[in-house]
Amino acid sequence: MNNKIYEISPGFEEIMPKDYRDLVNDGPFGKKLGVKDLGTFKELLEEHPLCAGCGLALSKRLILASLPSPENTVIVGTTGCSSLSFAQVAIHNIHSIFGNQNAVATGLKRALEIRFPDKTKDVVAMGGDGAIGDIGLGMVMHSWFRGEKFTTIMFDNEAYANTGGQESGMSQKGAVLNMAPTGKKYAKLPMPEIARDAGCVYSASVTPARPKRLEKMVRRAVILARKLGPTYIQIYCPCPTNYKFKPSESLKRTRDMEKSGAYQIKEYISPAAEELIKKFEEVK
């Protein structure tokens, strides 16, 4: 897109809100900034209302800093804690209903291809584990089966946090949560594998304790989706409020989960994706 679109019309510099002026002057649009530059530019997420220590907030901040082309990205969010912070994201984003983000993203991506055949427009569907693994799973998987060219990112806090901490399909087996008063009876859904088998050319899981890894995965997922087809990333997002640990311990908990093997970093890459990754990562 034309970055001039963000430029403020002459004479309006003074009356535009400061946030907007900062975005125009110091935002990441068109500048190819990344996670390592955090702290040096006006970020895309600001003043969100999520709890202190929330893994979703940290993950979203890292995702937004990792987008290869934020000036050409539209996000489709969905109901959940994460949706409460979409209003504070400086990228066009849609909130529709609960769990239908991948169906909405399908229509949106196809519409943008019709309207802008010569431009690259990235669509990223983002939702929690309830939206992606449970209520919206059918629509998520069908977008993968159909080979829709956008990325799906799951904020996996292993519970329905926004409604007060209920068990979800992504909760660990045995977890005692609301609606699972005697502990969850079945295992965490194997979503990275489901994504791979359902047609994602790239499927990965990661945690915000590894920002560089996360950035690399987001960039890979978004760029591969443009050319090849659906991609999936799952990010562990600890929820201090419902899992009842100190907000200051979120990252420690993340590392403990990695160490114990309860949360594994994974990356499945299809042969075609492998080829393409070589090309665009060499170019740098």
């Binding site: 209003a87 849609i94 059918g138």
Partner: protein, 384 residues
């Protein structure tokens, strides 16, 4: 995306609707849907099967293959389809879909969402009864359930109506002062699967394309500053400002539907049509109940009974002032319906001054046809 593209000349809506020479074709209601979409310059259509709607979306698929529509696919279920057309509409293209009965209810959550997001989607609904017990037969109960979703609601009596209403619905939906979804209803089988003479415009002309930048809410394409915008108003905080914001948005959606009146008048010749409205007894109906009423009126006239007919074409906005005026001084207003709940009688009662004269009868449901004799009996009873 389709790799073919048919060459059609873009003409003004007035030309396509009123001036172009029309040709008569003996076609089904489903085929009338196809003919309207051919000329509607639709970018995307998304389908999911449900009887009696399937055939219409098969035919839309055929014209996609011929190059009349740019993108088309079968969605995974009704909610998926209604979500995807929302995404496409937010992305700034003209979209069409159709459903009916159980399918409409499965997707229900999206309809108020479409209206709330001010999406000019056109959706055809082909009515059928709802479970339980299961039926696939025509029954208009679903209209009553969808009346308050914020959508504009039109009800076709015939295949001709269906052709005209769908085509005109795009233009009404996309008016900047309206910019709302339009639901075009037709009674399943009676309209979709029967043949009649339909007058249609030449197939080498089509409507002007949708201009997403005329939308009262920003199109989701990152081409429209400012960037910090949500397509649908998102007011989750519990404070006075958010209450006021939410309430005023809802009022604006309802007001936008009311503003559609002038466009419906212009393109459809009014929200309702009347015949012999001076008669002491009036029948008010929508959909194929109108056709059955016509048959009853012919027999009533043969018996010397004079009866007027009011055909409601638009149910949202509801022609309340017109109905109130028409009912004034009448002996009886008979409202025959193809459903058990009598939603149309309820609507009419809510606007007529002396509503004890509104007769919510006869009603058939579960897929039965409406014998004109039932209407005739009602006319005889009220004529005494």
């Amino acid at each position: 995306m389709s790799d073919k593209a048919i060459q059609q000349k873009i003409v003004e809506p007035e030309e396509l609707f009123f001036k172009a020479k029309r040709e008569k074709q003996f076609i089904t209601g489903s085929e009338a849907v196809k003919e309207s979409i051919k000329r509607a310059n639709v970018d995307m259509a998304i389908s999911y099967p449900i009887t009696p709607q399937s055939e219409s979306m098969h035919l839309v698929g055929d014209i996609y293959a011929q190059g009349y529509v740019k993108d088309y696919y079968r969605g995974e279920n009704e909610l998926g389809v209604m979500s995807a057309v929302a995404g496409a509409s937010m992305g700034g293209v003209r979209v069409f879909t159709a459903t009916g009965g159980q399918g409409a209810l499965r997707a229900f959550e999206m309809f108020p969402t479409w209206a709330g997001a001010r999406l000019p989607i056109v959706c055809a609904f082909f009515c059928r009864g709802l479970n339980s017990p299961l039926t696939i037969q025509p029954d208009t109960i679903e209209i009553g359930l969808l009346l308050d979703t914020g959508m504009i609601i039109l009800h076709a009596e015939t295949a001709q109506d269906l052709y005209d209403m769908i085509l005109k619905a795009f233009i009404i939906a996309e008016e900047p002062d309206v910019h709302l979804p339009v639901a075009v209803f037709a009674d399943g089988f009676f309209v979709t699967h029967t043949r009649e003479m339909v007058e249609i415009a030449p197939e080498d002309i089509k409507l002007p394309p949708y201009n997403p930048y005329k939308s009262p809410v920003p199109v989701m394409d990152m081409e429209t500053p400012p960037v910090r915008q949500m397509r649908d108003p998102f007011v989750m905080k519990s404070n006075y400002v958010s209450y006021a914001c939410h309430a005023s948005w809802q009022q604006e959606v309802r007001a936008a539907a009311e503003r559609a009146r002038k466009h419906i008048n212009k393109y459809l010749g009014g929200l309702l049509e009347t015949e012999n409205e001076d008669a002491e007894i009036l029948i008010m109906a929508s959909g194929t109940a109108v056709s059955q009423s016509r048959a009853a009126i012919i027999r009533a006239e043969a018996e010397g009974l004079k009866v007027g007919l009011v055909k409601l074409k638009s149910l949202r906005p509801f022609p309340k002032d017109e109905i109130k005026a028409l009912a004034k001084g009448k002996k009886a207003v008979i409202v025959p319906e193809f459903n058990i709940t009598g939603w149309l009688a309820r609507e009419i009662k809510s606007v007529v001054e002396d509503n004890s004269k509104v007769i919510g009868a006869p009603r058939v449901f579960g897929g039965m046809t409406m014998p004109p004799e039932l209407i005739l009996e009602e006319i005889r009873r009220r004529s005494k």
